[in-house]
């Protein structure tokens, strides 16, 4: 993070490099000059869930995570969402209380009888 930008770290920041020491600040400056900014990293994280990313891009993302726990959390959160959506019972997605109202069922039956079906 550029030192001139006022963007104080949150109390729960657990990034490896937080800029509290001279070395940490130097590492942050170096990594930030070499890796994309957070906005682009979030795009790449999403893209990485749909296509394999080039090796260098993945390395840069991992390096970015050393200074930015927020992007790392963002990736973990998205992976978690995918996992629970894909591996939970199908009905969980649906509103189990939703039912076709009786009048709609009646309308459907009438429509089906009015149609030129084989029966």
């Amino acid at each position: 993070m550029p030192a001139e930008t006022p963007n104080p770290r949150a109390p729960d920041d657990d990034s490896l490099f937080q800029g509290k020491t001279w070395l940490s600040r130097k590492m942050i400056a170096f990594i930030n000059s070499w890796t994309p900014r957070c906005r682009e990293v979030t795009h790449l994280i999403s893209e990485g869930m749909d296509h394999p990313l080039p090796l260098l891009t993945r390395i840069k993302m991992r390096a970015h995570f050393l200074t930015c726990c927020y992007c790392e959390r963002y990736e973990k959160n998205l992976r978690f969402l995918r996992r629970i959506i894909r591996f939970s019972p199908w009905e969980k997605h649906e509103d189990e209380t939703a039912q076709l109202p009786p009048e709609v069922k009646e309308r459907l039956k009438q429509a089906l009888h009015g149609d030129h079906g084989p029966s």
Binding site: R39, S46, M49, Y70, N77, L81, H93, D95
Partner: protein, 221 residues
């Protein structure tokens, strides 16, 4: 990657994944089948089909219309139903195609206004391209199995999905719930890969934040 829980009461796809039913909704014709019984279809499968459509199109009236269209299409093509899959799987296949047609139509008619507003909303989380630290993503400490079985969580999930613009929600559901590949979705909805990428990114960002605020962080406050 297949769904491990497809053999559920309401969604009995047998021996195949969702993809195949999207592509070929109607079974190959061959053997004669007994006469169709539309009244029974409505009573036995109506609610399941309706719930499936409702979670995807999110408007009860539209879901009802799609179920009706699916039943009508099934009735017209009943002679082609070979009985290789269960009647419900066959009906689901037809309904899925009706939903895809609806998505296509939605894509042609939806303006990008909603997407732009979503984009502006997301841009407020960054300053100069970096996260605003105090508003950045929080550490979720989820116990996935426990959460996935809480019905309240899925109520929140549906509410969050309901806040997404229709078009963005539809691509998210096709990708994450139905597990279609990006190529399949692009072909289905006639959109470019880059356009799809942007929509998926926006849907994920918005959904993640909505769940964080309304579920993961709610109990902490």
């Amino acid at each position: 990657m297949g769904r491990p829980f497809l053999q559920e009461i309401c969604f009995p796809i047998s021996g195949g994944d969702v993809r195949s039913t999207f592509v070929t909704p109607e079974s190959t014709p061959s053997t004669p089948t007994p006469a169709a019984n539309p009244d029974r279809w409505v009573d036995e499968h109506g609610d399941c089909l309706y719930r499936y459509a409702l979670v995807r199109v999110r408007t009860p009236e539209v879901a009802q219309d799609l179920v009706q269209e699916a039943f009508l299409a099934a009735l017209r093509s009943y002679e082609k139903f070979a009985g290789r899959s269960s009647e419900r799987s066959w009906l689901f296949g037809i309904l899925k195609n009706k939903i895809v047609d609806y998505y296509r139509k939605l894509g042609r008619e939806t303006s990008f206004t909603d997407m732009e507003s979503l984009s502006n909303e997301n841009s407020e989380k960054f300053v100069d391209g970096w996260w605003i630290h105090v508003d950045g993503p929080k550490e979720w400490k989820p116990e996935a199995d426990v959460i996935a079985h809480r019905s309240e969580f899925w109520v929140t999930m549906r509410k969050c999905l309901g806040k997404l613009p229709d078009r963005i929600a539809s691509v998210f559901m096709l990708r994450e719930m139905d597990e279609l590949s990006t190529n399949e979705i692009c072909e289905m909805l006639s959109i470019s890969e880059s356009n799809l990428g942007v929509m998926l990114h926006r849907s994920r960002m918005a959904l993640r934040e909505c769940l964080e605020i309304n579920w993961f962080e709610k109990g902490k406050k």
